[in-house]
Symmetry: C2
Subunit: 211 residues, 2 copies
């Protein structure tokens, strides 16, 4: 049995019910830990489920920052230092990752509160998460305000990548499943994955084959 | 063994190798079929791995359209008719979904070429994919050009949802894993998922529990 939800029904829904429903509709999401530090070195770590690829040359990625995340340490630190890290989440740390969304005060680092370990790379201001298996550093390049609902798109350039050597294929593909990266759906559901297949580049008239 | 890739190494990479690598780093992605039709009713169906949640009230979602997708039937149809559908992909149709990325001419609908079936709902111009288990209709509300690399962010309002009745929880959460929705990584890798758990709303001082 299938069911239909109309715009009128959406508008009439209780706020938290609608938030859970609409967040689930986006499909499986890229969920990451975003590490920053202010100019004085005070660290912050926050979970984001809105990380997305924007381009490979230059290597650009985007993240959406919500208006209701107050106080917005992540945004302030990115704008102040231009530096942030993106750390993939694996099965061993997804509970701690989720816990970073608790509203800690400005003087309480989520690293300390959740037991995740910061580590630093020379020349990069923001802290990485040691327990993560795939880590990137980004340099802030552009902010785009989405006035419709007060969300902010932060665009970054990928300047550093740290990953397991055996996860990189000969064609550049990174096997993030092998590296243990998890995905999420909705506001709070975490999932491991199982590959169906990789498919060949699509051409008219020929069905894609497994590669 | 882990390895490091620097910005200099990224810049020196062969173009297709870098594209595969950078696309993989974005984590698991929401992969959907986007259905449109021009004013005359000529249909188009295209796979996108950049669908993301933007807000629940109003219910907004975003999609990134790449500059190198020529001819851009999807973009033209959205701007012309303001209507598009988002159709989750399941294990039964991921090969056909991938095949929609082949560069068909303007008079060849991907529906016909891939064997996916269009269906229509009164009041909604764009076609849905019958074989999809979760389908949304969106109304175009805003375009934001990302001048850094020529990509375009299309923002839409969700106006209609069609989904399996047994996938909606009492709290509004939609179990997209139960509905068979798949995820992708990189340019060509498709995956089913297995839930680890849903976690309770995070609060300082209390570890999240399974819900």
């Amino acid at each position: 049995m299938s069911t239909v939800i109309t715009e009128q029904q959406l508008l009439a829904m209780e706020t938290r019910y609608r938030a859970a429903l609409i967040n689930s509709l986006g499909g499986f999401k890229s969920v990451v830990l975003l590490g920053t530090a202010n100019a004085a070195g005070q660290t912050n770590l926050a979970i984001f489920s809105s990380f997305f690829h924007l381009g490979a040359n230059p290597a650009l990625c985007g993240i959406i920052i919500r208006p209701d995340v107050a106080p917005r340490h992540t945004l302030n630190n990115i704008l102040e230092t231009k530096s942030y890290t993106i750390n993939h989440i694996n099965e061993g740390i997804y509970r701690q990752a989720h816990q970073t969304s608790a509203r800690y005060g400005g003087d309480e680092s989520e690293f300390v509160q959740t037991g995740l370990t910061p580590f630093y790379v020379p020349g990069i201001h923001a802290p990485f998460v040691q327990q993560s298996h795939i880590q990137l550093a980004c340099e802030f390049v552009q902010r785009a305000d989405i006035t419709l609902n007060g969300t902010i798109l932060i665009i970054g350039k990928i300047v550093y990548i740290h990953l397991p050597e055996n996860a990189i294929g000969t064609d550049g593909f990174i096997d993030i499943e092998k590296a243990g990266t998890v995905t999420c759906s909705g506001l709070d559901s975490y999932h491991t994955t199982k590959r169906l297949s990789r498919l060949s580049y699509a051409k008219p008239g020929v069905l894609p084959r497994d590669i």
